[in-house]
């Protein structure tokens, strides 16, 4: 029997709601523990009364083990856990997008299935986000996550190269442990296509992005040296990251082309003046003209190619879902911030 209307009944939910999204691919052994940890955090938050973990959305991304069954059992046991089953393996970003589009929280946290992103860090992450006026905070691993030089170094290297080529300073912050303002998370998830790198999509909606150093460790990789990613999928992941960003290096190439074109025009003026005013200074006829012709044609091609690529970039970004603008409501932050500060002082 459903509850009937009782206006005297107080609102049972605090004003700030937190959703947790967990893409699941290989989590049969970890999900029980994860749910227990989330339940613990949920209980603690309920006691505080300020933030409520309203839902944990487990997204079965075509899991290769018995995760789907465990997820269903968990959703039966805990009403705040929702299990979503994707029809096949679409990848971690697509699964995250699917989970976020099912969420309703004021804030959305995304974590991995294997407890490398421990739920106990959710509140510190939220506190850091709100206190600093961020819309998005990534966890920053204090130590090497995989304890593998090649894996950790290549990950950092790809991000650094991408940062250099694109000028997107946030690329190096990207991590799958995120705390995102719910509106922005859902907006970015709405525009994301299968080719969109989700973190890049988030940067289209906000530049209030922060980092919080946390002890993160990929325990499964460290213990078993196995991962859901192989070399090919990592390379594809890196390519998607690169293509999702605006390539500033192309713009630089176009500028060099324009500069070369300009230089060839100036040099041709110099050569013409020299030919007619100071013909005696010309030692070798034809050489200067040849260089100018090469410079002119090269500069012209580079600049035209740059313009074409700029057009292409606009189309690609449009296809990937980059918005013209987005309106956000941060009015609840002040309340949350003051309450969190009060709580901190009391503690």
């Amino acid at each position: 029997m459903m509850n009937l209307y009782d206006p005297r009944q107080p609102r049972e939910r605090p004003p700030i709601q937190l959703s947790v999204v967990v893409p699941v691919y290989h989590g049969e052994d970890c999900l029980e523990e994860l749910a227990a940890e989330l339940a613990l955090v949920r209980e603690q938050l309920e006691q505080g009364g300020l933030v409520s973990l309203v839902e944990a959305i487990l997204v079965d991304d075509g899991a290769v083990d018995g995760s789907a069954r465990v997820m269903d059992a968990l959703s039966q046991r805990f009403p705040w856990i929702t299990a979503i089953h994707l029809s096949r393996n679409f990848g971690q970003h697509s699964a995250t997008v699917a989970g976020i589009l099912h969420s309703c929280g004021d804030w959305v946290a995304t974590i991995d299935e294997d407890l490398q992103h421990h739920p106990k860090f959710l509140l510190p992450l939220l506190r850091h986000t709100v206190e600093n006026g961020f819309d998005l905070v990534f966890a920053k691993p204090i130590h090497a996550v995989h304890e593998s030089f090649v894996r950790d170094f290549s990950s950092k290297a790809v991000k650094q190269v991408t940062k250099l080529m694109t000028g997107n300073e946030h690329v190096t912050k990207f991590n799958s442990f995120r705390m995102i303002r719910g509106q922005i998370a859902r907006a970015a998830a709405s525009v994301a296509t299968e080719r969109t790198y989700f973190d890049v999509a988030l940067t289209w909606f906000t530049d209030r992005i922060g980092l919080l150093p946390l002890p993160l460790k990929d325990r499964r990789y460290v213990a078993q040296r196995t991962s859901g990613y192989n070399l090919y999928s990592l390379a594809r992941h890196a390519l998607r990251l690169l293509l999702g960003c605006e390539l500033k290096v192309l713009r630089a190439g176009a500028l060099v082309g324009f500069a070369t074109l300009l230089l060839s025009a100036v040099l041709s003026c110099v050569v013409v003046v020299q030919k007619f005013v100071y013909p005696e200074t010309v030692d070798l006829a034809g050489w200067s003209s040849l260089i100018i012709a090469v410079l002119f044609s090269g500069g012209l091609l580079a600049s035209l190619l740059g313009v074409c690529l700029e057009y292409l970039s606009v189309l690609v970004l449009r296809t990937l879902g980059r918005p013209t603008y987005y309106v956000v409501d941060r009015s609840k932050d002040a309340l949350l911030c003051s309450e969190l500060s009060r709580e901190k002082q009391a503690a």
Binding site: M2, N3, E12, W80, I84, R186, V327
Partner: protein, 326 residues
């Protein structure tokens, strides 16, 4: 009102079904019944905004069931919308009570006769501003419309003469756009988008709602008339929602991608309808898989296309079989 009858219906299913109100949901219910072999046998125009006149009309209709042992009335009527005033809702409550009394009088004619009554309530009206609503969430209507639905539900539950009392609480229902119906958000967006017209919103970009396709609503309602087990509860209340909240921004993206045009939107700054209302996926699990919103949006857009509006869809059209109403 439309009366449908089936001679081939399952033993536990009603042989006669009266659909009260042929708006968006009512028509879809009729179509769904027709797919299950019900044939429309009578159509009766009723005066919904005047309970005394309605009472008179229903008295003239008499017993439309022709002595069928099992019949069902499905209330899909209602002109009052979210913005309805107290006066409008009290008039509508009077209409509902008149119809219910009529159904009760038919049920009272014979003890053996099984007369059921299903009503379409409104989850949005009852739980406005609440998030992750489930069976345990208390109803807290914020406006006359929600209070009307609550009163209607109570009135139905307290009706002892009816053998079955089913209450359905659909969330935000969307479907085809017809000139004689209230326009929902999604068809309006498509309609205005195709005509390069501006659409005004009483809400914000981020307002979260749970949208459900009218075909799914009708299917769930009609499916409930065919119980799998004999121990069907006399009173049942059911949410019809997708369990997936969607923001206006998300819908805007979907519609733009489908019709291939940019939408012109205007948000009313003093929004009175901007509260998020969402439903837990766990409480709507029994509804089965529902139509994906992107598919439904393409269906509506394709319907526009077939009705003479120039539209280039990016993907192949989805043909919808719709049987004609008699």
């Amino acid at each position: 009102m439309m009366l449908l009858r089936s001679n081939t219906a399952h033993e536990s299913a009603p042989h006669c079904v009266g659909v009260l109100g042929l708006g968006l949901i009512g028509r879809a219910v009729v179509e769904s019944l027709q797919k299950r072999g019900y044939v429309p046998v009578r159509s009766q125009k009723l005066t919904w905004d005047s309970p005394p006149r309605l009472r008179e009309e229903l008295r003239e209709v008499g017993d439309p069931t022709l002595g069928d042992s099992a019949c069902e009335f499905i209330w899909c009527a209602g002109r009052a919308g979210f913005a309805a005033t107290d006066a409008e809702t009290s008039r509508e409550l009077g209409t509902f009570e008149t119809v219910l009394e009529w159904a009760e009088s038919i049920a009272a004619k014979s003890v053996e006769r099984q007369v059921g009554f299903s009503m379409m309530s409104s989850a949005g009206g009852l739980y406005e501003g609440q998030q992750r609503v489930d069976e345990q969430s208390p109803c807290r209507p914020c406006r006359p419309y929600g209070r009307l639905k609550l009163h209607q539900e109570r009135r139905l539950r307290e009706s002892p003469k009816l053998s079955q009392r089913r209450i359905f609480r659909p969330s935000s229902v969307y479907g085809w756009l017809r000139s004689d119906q209230r326009k929902g958000l999604i068809p309006t967006l498509i309609h205005n988008g195709l005509r390069n017209q501006e659409t005004s919103f009483d809400g914000s970009f981020n307002t979260l709602r749970d949208y459900v396709w009218v075909g799914d609503v009708a299917e769930i309602v009609v499916r409930s008339l065919f119980p799998k087990h004999d121990d069907t509860p006399t009173n049942s209340t059911r949410f019809i929602a997708s369990g997936q909240p969607s923001s206006i921004f998300q819908i805007k993206q979907l519609v733009e991608a489908t019709i291939g045009r940019r939408l012109q939107l205007k948000f009313v700054s003093q929004a009175s309808n901007a509260l998020d209302t969402t439903f837990s996926a766990n409480c709507v699990r029994d509804n089965g898989p529902l139509t994906d919103m992107s598919v439904a949006i393409r269906r509506i857009a394709a319907d526009f296309s077939s009705n003479g509006v120039s539209l280039e869809l990016r993907r192949p059209h989805i043909t919808i079989k719709r049987e004609c109403l008699t």
